[in-house]
């Protein structure tokens, strides 16, 4: 009985590690979107993996692993961002430190993209990340829990925002 349980557990872990390995880019990209300070990012990556493992028991194999993974990774990252920003309100500006620490010489395009990401609230960051990942509006909507039309509106606003960012860098956006 004990052996069967252990074997099932080992198999589950093996299956999880294989899936995680083939989709590890998702974890990294989500972490990169919400935090660019290397140490903090590693903590976030770790936390995302723990949450994924904990939730893996209830993962329905009939559904796409990437959708399930995006949801957990984004939910973890958004919660982590809110928690960290409250904890560090009195000390340092996380986005500012992160940007300098991780990109010694970013290209102009990448600089613009990260400026745009830094200006967005956590929910809109999720939209942008999923859009950059080439997901369809319907897929983005499924992950976020909004309609595809609503996603289209959000993306159109993000495009408008990017144009403004290029025209007038660092201008606060309403």
């Amino acid at each position: 009985m004990m052996n069967t349980t252990r074997k099932a557990m080992a198999l589950r872990q093996e299956r999880f590690e294989a899936l995680l390995s083939s989709h590890s880019g998702i974890v990294f990209k989500v972490a990169q979107t919400y935090c660019r300070q290397p140490d903090d990012r590693q903590d976030l990556i770790q936390e995302i993996k723990v949450q994924l493992w904990r939730a893996f028991a209830s993962y329905d194999e009939k559904r796409a692993f990437s959708t399930w993974m995006y949801r957990i990774a984004l939910n973890t990252a958004i919660s982590w961002t809110r928690r960290i920003s409250l904890r560090r309100r009195h000390s340092v500006d996380l986005a500012e430190v992160g940007e300098r620490a991780f990109f010694p010489e970013p290209t102009e395009e990448l600089q613009t993209l990260y400026r745009l990401i830094d200006e967005l609230d956590p929910m809109n960051r999720a939209v942008l990340l999923l859009y950059l990942e080439d997901l369809s509006h319907a897929e983005i909507g499924e992950i976020l829990g909004i309609t595809a039309n609503h996603v289209a509106t959000k993306i159109s606003r993000l495009k408008q925002r990017l144009r403004q960012e290029i025209a007038e860098p660092n201008t606060p956006w309403n």
């Binding site: 999880f16 590690e17 995680l20 390995s21 590890s24 880019g25 974890v27 990294f28 990209k29 972490a31 990169q32 290397p38 990556i45 770790q46 936390e47 993996k49 723990v50 949450q51 493992w53 904990r54 939730a55 209830s58 993962y59 399930w68 949801r71 957990i72 984004l74 939910n75 973890t76 958004i78 919660s79 809110r82 409250l86 904890r87 309100r89 009195h90 000390s91 290209t107 395009e109 990448l110 613009t112 993209l113 609230d121 956590p122 929910m123 809109n124 999720a126 859009y131 080439d134 499924e142 992950i143 976020l144 829990g145 909004i146 609503h150 509106t153 993306i155 993000l158 495009k159 990017l162």
Partner: protein, 213 residues
């Protein structure tokens, strides 16, 4: 430059991801963090309600004759019941949270849970601490009998009430002085200043705004 063009830039920046670890890190986790305090409060509240309820039941006849003497135990019983209700609400809220579910819904539930958590902490800080005097009164009644309240002189009552106020004031002063260095005092500071409730409200407002087409 358009957003579509940036897709290529974005993807090429991940050509060599730094994420080296492939093993599942089971050792470190913050996952149980949210439920720990509500469960602790539920246990403390339930034990207090049990002890106080038992005490009041045992002294039902005496309470009818000397109702004033029963007030401290009734007050603690009320505090314990409120604590139980708040912690149960938090546990229910957190158990409804599904990180594998749609992000908007999960984040709204999480923000609502946090608002509830802050309110529960404020209740403890702003109500339970200043009325500290009733705790030693009931402790005395449990140890030396129902009549203990009648034997307590005014100086004892004033001293204990002052102690409660002093501890509360001490926490406030320490929180202001050491808020930058200690996470505990920073949390107390945020609770007193209402910063945490504002953060929770802002998160809810942000999600509501995001949901609007």
């Amino acid at each position: 430059m358009e957003l579509d063009q940036l897709k290529t830039t974005w993807k090429s920046s991940f050509d060599s991801p730094e994420d080296g670890s492939r093993s599942v890190p089971l050792g470190r986790t913050n996952a149980g963090r949210l439920t720990r305090i509500p469960i602790f409060e539920l246990i403390v509240g339930a034990l207090t309600a049990l002890v106080c309820g038992n005490f009041l039941f045992d002294n039902l006849a005496a309470s009818r004759q000397l109702p004033l003497y029963a007030i401290p135990a009734i007050a603690i019983q009320a505090l314990a019941i409120v604590t139980i209700a708040l912690s149960v609400r938090q546990i229910v809220a957190i158990s409804a949270l599904d990180f594998a579910g749609p992000i908007v819904e999960a984040q709204r539930k999480l923000a609502e849970f946090k608002r509830l958590r802050v309110r529960a902490s404020q209740f403890v800080m702003l109500v339970a601490l200043p009325v500290w005097v009733i705790f030693p009164l009931v402790a005395g009644q449990l140890l030396w009998g129902f009549e203990f309240v009648g034997k307590v002189d005014t100086a004892w009552m004033i001293a204990n009430f002052a102690f409660g106020l002093l501890v509360s004031a001490g926490i406030v002063v320490a929180a202001r002085r050491y808020g930058e260095q200690s996470p505990f005092f920073q949390k107390v500071n945020d609770l007193l200043a209402g910063t945490e409730i504002v953060e929770a409200e802002n998160a809810i407002a942000q999600i509501e705004q995001f949901e609007r087409p």
